[in-house]
Symmetry: C2
C-alpha cells in the first residue's frame, strides 16, 4: 500500500478499514482483524493499493471527438476542426454520452475524480454521478456565445444555478472556469475574481499553453497572460492553471508566491507541439503540481497512469537531470496534489483516516511487472491501466477484476456509434 502521505511510505501487509464510505484506519493486517472482527474482508494479496487518481484537467465530453483531427497545432486544431464540430453538435445529450464514455475509460484506468470544463456542465455532472465518480465542474465562461450560453452573464448565471442545485452533493465540487486569456475579456475575468472571493471557489483556467497565446496577449494587452491575470486579481491559492508550458523564471516565482496550482498535461502539450513545461523548476519552487489528461481530442487516451509515466520521464530530459520528478513525486502529483488543487484535499487524494475511500488496486502479477524491487517504480515506469483491477469511490466498488460494475454504461455502445455517424457526416460535408 502506498498511502502517498507520509511521502515515500510503502506499507506491506497492511489493510484499510472502511466504514460508511470513509477510511476508518490503515493498519497491519493482523491488527485489522483483531480490531474489526467479523468485518467483511477483501484480500488482495498480490496487489498494490493506492489512492484514486485525480485527473485535474479534462473536457470529458470530447471523447466523442477522439481522433477526429490529429497532427495539427492548437490554434488551427481549435479553429478549423474542433470549434466547427462543437458549434454544430454539442448539446446536453452529446455532453452526457461523451462524459459517460470518458468515465468508463477513466474508471477502467484508476481515475476516481476528474476536474472538468465543458459546455452544459449539468449533463457532465449528471453523467459522473450516474456512474459514481467524484468530479469537479467548471462554471464555464467565454466571451463568445455557444449553444450553451449567450454571453458571460448567461454562462455565469447558468453555472451558479447548477452549483446551487448540487451544493450538498458530496461527490461534486465546483470551480469558476474562465476558458483562457484569449477567449475571456478583462471585465469577465474581474467578475470571476469577485465571485471566486465571495463564494470561495477555485478558478480553473488554461494558461500559458502556447507561444501564440503569449504573443497575442502581448499584442492585445501589452503584457503576458499571467501578468494580466495578476493585475486582474486572479492569482492566489485557488488558481488552477492548466498547462503552464511557457514560463519565465519570474512567472514560476509568481505562481509559487501566490500558492497557485499548475496542472501539467504532458501528452496534450507534446501532441499539439505546444512545448515542454518546466516541471523540475516548478517542483523546486514547491508549486503544487497536478496532472491532467486534457480532452480526448488533444490527448486521445484518458489515462492518468500514462500521464504520470510521461511526466516522470519527460521532466528528466527537460531538466537534463535523471533524478527530476522521481516515482513518488509523480504519484503525489497524480493524486494528492490534484485533490489539493481542487480544494478537496481533505476529502480525497491519499489513504488517510477520515478521507473518503477513493481507492485503486493494481494486480502486480504480470510478466511485465516482474521482478518487483520497488512497487512505486513499477507503478510509474512499468505498469499500465491494464493492471488496474479494482476501483472504489467513496467506498463503492466501481471496478471489479477489471470489469465496470455500474449499469450507467448500458446502451453506451450504441449511442457513441450514433454520434460517430453524425460527426462523420459533418466531417465529410
Amino acid at each position: 500500500m502506498v498511502p502517498v502521505e507520509p511521502a515515500g511510505a510503502v506499507l506491506e501487509h497492511h489493510a484499510v478499514a472502511v466504514r460508511g464510505g470513509r477510511i476508518e484506519a490503515l493498519l497491519p493486517e493482523a491488527e485489522a482483524r483483531a480490531r474489526f472482527p467479523g468485518r467483511e474482508e477483501l484480500a488482495l494479496d498480490d496487489h498494490l493499493l493506492i489512492p484514486g487518481l485525480v485527473n485535474a484537467h479534462t473536457h470529458a465530453a470530447m471523447t466523442l471527438m477522439r481522433g477526429l483531427a490529429d497532427d495539427l497545432p492548437l490554434m488551427r486544431w481549435l479553429r478549423e476542426r474542433i470549434w466547427p464540430v462543437e458549434a454544430k453538435h454539442v448539446s446536453p445529450e452529446f455532453v452526457r454520452d461523451g462524459t459517460l464514455l470518458a468515465c468508463a475509460e477513466m474508471l477502467r484506468g484508476g481515475i476516481t475524480c476528474f476536474n472538468d470544463v465543458y459546455f452544459f456542465p449539468e449533463a457532465a455532472l449528471e453523467a459522473a454521478l450516474a456512474c459514481g465518480m467524484r468530479s469537479a465542474h467548471g462554471i464555464i465562461v467565454f466571451d463568445l456565445p455557444s449553444a450553451y450560453a449567450s454571453d458571460p452573464a448567461d454562462y455565469l448565471r447558468k453555472g451558479l444555478a447548477l452549483r446551487d442545485r448540487y451544493r450538498e452533493e458530496p461527490l461534486v465540487s465546483f470551480t469558476l472556469a474562465p476558458h483562457a486569456p484569449y477567449t475571456v475579456s478583462d471585465a469577465t475575468f474581474r467578475q470571476v475574481a469577485t465571485l471566486a472571493a465571495e463564494l470561495d471557489l477555485p478558478v480553473h483556467v488554461h494558461l500559458h499553453e502556447t507561444g501564440e497565446e503569449i504573443e497575442r496577449s502581448l499584442a492585445e494587452h501589452g503584457v503576458r497572460p499571467m501578468e494580466r491575470l495578476r493585475r486582474l486579481g486572479l492569482l492566489g491559492p485557488g488558481l488552477i492553471a492548466a498547462h503552464c508550458v511557457h514560463l519565465a523564471k519570474e512567472e514560476i516565482q509568481l505562481l509559487a508566491h501566490h500558492g497557485c496550482s499548475v496542472v501539467h498535461c504532458p501528452s496534450s502539450n507534446l501532441k499539439l507541439a505546444s512545448g515542454f513545461a518546466p516541471v523540475a523548476a516548478l517542483m523546486e519552487r514547491r508549486v503544487n503540481l497536478a496532472l491532467g489528461t486534457d480532452g480526448a481530442a488533444s490527448n486521445n487516451r484518458l489515462d492518468l497512469l500514462q500521464e504520470m509515466r510521461t511526466a516522470a520521464l519527460l521532466a528528466k530530459a527537460v531538466a537534463g537531470d535523471a533524478q527530476a520528478l522521481p516515482a513518488h513525486a509523480a504519484l503525489r502529483a497524480a493524486t494528492l496534489s490534484g485533490a489539493q488543487a481542487l480544494g478537496i484535499g481533505d476529502r480525497t487524494g491519499s489513504i488517510a483516516p477520515g478521507k473518503a475511500a477513493d481507492l485503486v488496486a493494481l494486480d502486480m502479477r504480470a510478466f511485465g511487472l516482474a521482478p518487483c524491487y520497488d512497487p512505486v517504480s513499477h507503478l510509474v515506469y512499468a505498469a499500465g491501466r491494464e493492471n488496474v483491477s479494482h476501483v472504489w469511490v467513496g467506498g463503492a466498488l466501481l471496478l471489479q477484476e477489471g470489469k465496470l460494475v455500474s449499469d450507467a454504461f448500458s446502451g453506451l455502445d450504441t449511442r457513441w456509434q450514433l454520434w460517430q455517424n453524425a460527426l462523420e457526416s459533418r466531417a465529410d460535408s
Copy 2:
C-alpha cells in the same frame, strides 16, 4: 487491416491468406472465401490487423533488473548499479530466464521480432526460439572482459560460432555488435568492419546516446564518435545506430548519405535524461528510423506500442511541429523500418504476399477506443498493449485472446522470483 505498405493504406473487410507460415495473399473477404474454399478461417470482425512489431534495440535479459535502479543518469547508472550486478550475476541461466520474461512481455504487447545485444547470446537465442519469436542477436564485442568472454577475439569467436550453428534457422538473424564507442577500441572496430563486409552482417552499436559519450570521444580520439566510426569504415547501409540523441546537422546528413538506420528509443532517452533525438530532421533527410524499447533496466516497460506513441508525441514538440511523425509514419518505424534495419525487410515488417505471417490483431471494442474515426490514429495515440488480442509469428499463433499460448513460460514465475531474491541480497550487501 493496415499493411504498412503501400504507405497510408487502410483496408476494410479484407482477409490474409496464410499457407506454410507465409502470407499467400491479402484480398477482400468475399474474394478470399471464393479463392480459398474450405480453408480454415478465423474471423476477427472488430479488430485491426497490423504487421508484427519489431523492437529494434533491446537487451532482453535485463528484465531481471527491471526497476532495480531508477532516477540516475546513464553513466552513473551503468557504473554504480548495472555493471556491478551484471559482474556478479550474469550467466547463461540468467540470460535464458531474463529473455524468456522479456519474450512473454513483448509477445503480450504485439512484438514479434526483437534485435538483442547481450552477454551469452546463445541463451537469448534459445529462449526466443523456445517461445517461437523472431529475433536478431548481436555478436557482442567489448574491449572489457566479462563472465561471457575474456577479450575481443574471444567475444568474436564465440559469437561467430553461434552464427554458424544457427545460420539455417529462419527465425534467427545476426548482427555484429560492438557495444559502444566508449567500450570498444579502434582495433576492434576495424575488425568488426572487416567481418561485416566479409559476412554481409549488419553492425549494431550504441551511438551518440549522451553528451558525455561525445565529450569523451573528443577528449580521447579528437573527433566525435560518428566521425570516428566513419574513419574506421563503419558507416554504411548495414549500420544500426541505436539512440542517436545528439546529432549535428552534418551528422544527420552523414547518416542519410551512408544509408544508415537509426533506432530511436524515446523512453530510455527521457528516463536517463540523455536528451531528445531529432526525429523530424532524420525523417526529413529520409534516414531509416526504427524504434526500440532498450533494456528493461532503463525503460522498465518493453512495450513498442508505448514507444510508438511516445515517439509520435515527442517528435512533434521537439520539432515544434504538430505534423511531425504522424501516425502512419510512427507505425512504419515500429514495423517495416525495423525489419529493414535488421536486413530482414524481405521476410517481415509488412503484410505482403511472400513474407512470413508475422501478424498482430488488436481488439478495437474498448471504451478507450471509441468512437473510431481513424484506426491508425487510435493505434498510435489511444490503444495500448491491453488491446492486443492475437499474435502470430511465421503463421504460428503465440497469443490468443490476450493469453500466451506457449508452454515455454511455465515455471518462469518461480524462477524470476529466485533471481529477484539473489539480486536483492546483492543490492543490500
